[in-house]
């Protein structure tokens, strides 16, 4: 008898689960695509630099240190939001920041850096975006944290906020720097 009474409560139970799921869903962003490259080796590249085409920036040059790779472009408005933060971070000198200039024009990119400041040790010039595809870039800005072994450890989609910087990126960077 109780089991047959119970089956009338089943719809209510299922519904309660559904509401719980939807409530959690309200806090999530359905558009955000997580990166499958976390924990995997960063895709290699060797690109000319934004500053001067004769100079090249390769991933191999950056091995052995913890660094940030920030994907940016002069046509990207959200990049301007995070740019002051990057400048300040560069000034603090905690971690080197390298840039990946995505689908841009060299002169416009250089002008942009001159106007807004250049936090990057160097910026690679990815004109056709193919390296971006290798890194799973689907929008700008994006920032990757790469460790000493060359593995990607974190990806930030969208501009870096002070909160994300202090709570997620910097602690991770320190942790990685202390590791062997």
């Amino acid at each position: 008898m109780t089991t047959s009474r119970m089956r009338f409560a089943l719809p209510l139970l299922v519904f309660a689960l559904l509401v719980a799921l939807l409530a959690v869903g309200l806090r999530l962003d359905p558009r955000e695509v997580p990166s499958p490259l976390i924990g995997k080796p960063a895709p290699g590249f060797s690109l000319p630099q934004v500053a001067a085409a004769e100079q090249r920036l390769s991933l191999a040059d950056l091995k052995g240190q913890v660094f940030l790779l920030n994907v940016w472009a002069s046509w990207c408005l959200s990049c301007r939001e995070e740019h002051p933060l990057l400048l300040e971070l560069a000034k603090r000198g905690i971690v080197p920041i390298y840039g990946l200039n995505y689908k841009d024009e060299r002169e416009t990119a250089q002008a942009w850096l001159k106007r807004f400041g250049d936090p990057y040790r160097a910026s690679a010039f990815d004109a056709d975006g193919r390296i971006g595809i290798e890194w799973g870039v689907y929008g700008v800005p994006e920032t990757f944290v790469v460790d000493k072994q060359g593995l990607i450890r974190y990806k930030q989609t969208g501009p870096i906020t002070p909160e994300v910087l202090e709570k997620k990126i910097l602690p991770l960077v320190r942790q990685l720097q202390e590791a062997a």
């Binding site: 962003d29 558009r31 695509v33 997580p34 990166s35 499958p36 490259l37 472009a73 046509w75 990207c76 408005l77 959200s78 990049c79 995505y102 689908k103 056709d128 975006g129 193919r130 595809i133 290798e134 890194w135 799973g136 689907y138 929008g139 700008v140 800005p141 989609t157 969208g158 501009p159």
Partner: protein
Amino acid sequence: MNHPIDRNRSWPVARGRFGVPTRSGGMGLILCGLLLSRAVVATEIRQFDDPVKQERYERLLKDLRCLVCQNQSLADSDADLARDLRNEVYGIIQSGKSTEEAAQFLVDRYGDFVLYRPPFKGITVLLWSGPFLLLGGGFVFLWRQAKRRADRGSADSALSDEERTRLRQIQDRFQR
């Protein structure tokens, strides 16, 4: 019918033709909404040396999801990234590789999100088996109901045989 405004992102806009720079990150999404109306038909007219490859290419593109205009397939999206990814897929198919390899190329870089057909793995078992389980449950329910109604029916001795026949005749007459 505005798009959910995501102010944090920008996407490259085909410059020159539209001449409309992204005013704010959010406009990129509104652009997707308007691009949906086939502002530019996603037709890079591709040359294949083999019609089989062409069919593979076209069929695969329909099953891949655009990451920028996330409600369109890679076949239909006009986003810049979609064009770039179509280039990649074209290259892979043209070089003779299979659709699975082309799809895997994208999955390696962007994850399962890019597939419209969810892969059959541990976490999607419930998804693929769910409908069958539901149906099975429904059949169990149907069976139990049917048995209950039939059983009690045979034990129903409130009417005599003659009454039951008469009742049946009356019911048949008014049956629709």
